[in-house]
Structure formats: C-alpha cells, structure tokens
C-alpha cells in the first residue's frame, strides 16, 4: 500500500539555524500539505500546495517558512531561522484532490535548542 514518507525522523538544531524537512508524497497525489503538532496539542494546518504553488496557508506559515517541490517526487518544508517555539512534530500529507482523503506521513520531530 502506498504511503507518505518523511525524512529525517528526528532533527535537532540550534536556534537561528535553517532546517529542511523532506517528504515523499504518494505518487499519484497532486495536493500536498504540511501540518505541525506541538507536544500534547492538536494538529495544526500550515500550508497546502498544488501545481507548484501555495494554495492556502495559515497564520503560522510566516516569512520564515517556505515549501518547494524540487523534483517530481519530493516536497520540502524549509524553516529559515528556527525559533524555540518551532519545536514540534511536523507532518506531511497528500491527497489526490483537495476534496479527497489526506494521508499523513510518520512525521519529523524537530527540536530547536
């Protein structure tokens, strides 16, 4: 069964450093998403991406965040200058269409020190 994969599973970084989180969505899916979950809290939407453009983003997704689909398989989330409060689990998801089921990856646990 196809699944969304994410790398790395864990990332530790110093405050102010740049991080890139990687995702490989399900191959025939066209819509891609990033969500985050701060420890013990609910899952929060960050951004949706379709046809090489951001289609929707939340207030959390400020100028420090960017997304990219550098090739036909990867989907990345970049945080330019990490802050302590960026520490969270980051989930990538994909769907065939914006109205279809979103399938989530296993997540990357980011710890900013």
């Amino acid at each position: 069964e196809p699944e969304v994969t994410q790398t790395p599973s864990h990332q530790v970084t110093q405050m102010g450093q740049e991080v890139i989180l990687r995702c490989v969505p399900i191959s025939n899916h066209l819509y891609f998403y990033w969500y985050r979950q701060i420890l013990g809290q609910k899952v929060e939407f960050l951004v949706s991406f379709y046809n090489n453009e951001i289609s929707e983003k939340s207030e959390i997704f400020d100028d420090q965040f960017s997304v990219e689909r550098p090739d036909g398989s990867n989907f990345t989330l970049k945080i330019r200058s990490t802050k302590l409060e960026d520490s969270a689990m980051y989930f990538c998801a994909s769907s065939r269409d914006s109205g279809e089921t979103q399938y989530f990856g296993p997540g990357t646990r980011l710890l900013v020190l």
Partner: protein, 113 residues
C-alpha cells in the same frame, strides 16, 4: 469562534465493549469530516470520513454519525480491541478551502483487558 472540539479528553473502555467518541463543530460551512487515529510517535491514520450530505457511514468495525442540526460528529468503534488504544481526532474541512483540515483537540482512548 469557529472551532472543532471534543467533549471527552480520555475514554477508558473495556476490551470487547463498544466505544463512542464525540466531537462538536461550530462551522456550518464545513462539508467534509474525518476521523483520524494517532498512535504514540506516529502520524494521523485515516479511519473514516463523511460528507455533509450524509448522516451515517459505516466501515469495518467503525461508524461515523453526523448530526448537522446540533453540529455533532461521533465515531463508534464496535468490539474495541487493545490495538484501538490511541488518540482519536476529528477534523473538518470548509467548503471553500483548498483541503485545509481543522483538527479537534483529540480524545485518548484506553482499552483495558
């Protein structure tokens, strides 16, 4: 404000019994509702979904009920098993969104032998 939330933070259920997890939503513009299961350290796993033109949908051992009059969503798990122990999230999607899911706070289900 507009939100999706859960009535019970923790549900303890005996193995073999049925479980009912409840969720309230306040945005009548939502047209799609989903239940996800999240085990510790993993990403949300799709369980079942329902569109706003339906009242009930059944899957394998699970049933989702949607009451649009009182803006209430529930997940019923039949013959609960130890493997059902997890946090369960409801999520909604608004009609005019590009797939953005708004998650509730989550209910911890603990299955006891």
């Amino acid at each position: 404000g507009e939100s999706v939330g859960l009535h019970l933070p923790t549900l303890s259920v005996q193995e073999g019994d049925n479980s009912i997890i409840n969720c309230a939503y306040s945005n009548s513009a939502s047209d799609y509702f989903i239940w996800y299961k999240q085990e510790s350290g993993k990403g949300p796993q799709f369980i079942i979904d329902i569109r706003s033109n339906m009242d009930k949908r059944q899957g394998q051992r699970v049933t989702v009920l949607l009451n649009k009059t009182v803006k209430h969503l529930s997940l019923q798990i039949a013959a609960t098993q130890p493997g059902d122990s997890a946090v369960y999230f409801c999520a909604e999607r608004k009609t005019d969104s590009w797939g953005k899911l708004q998650f509730g706070a989550g209910t911890q289900v603990v299955v006891t032998p």
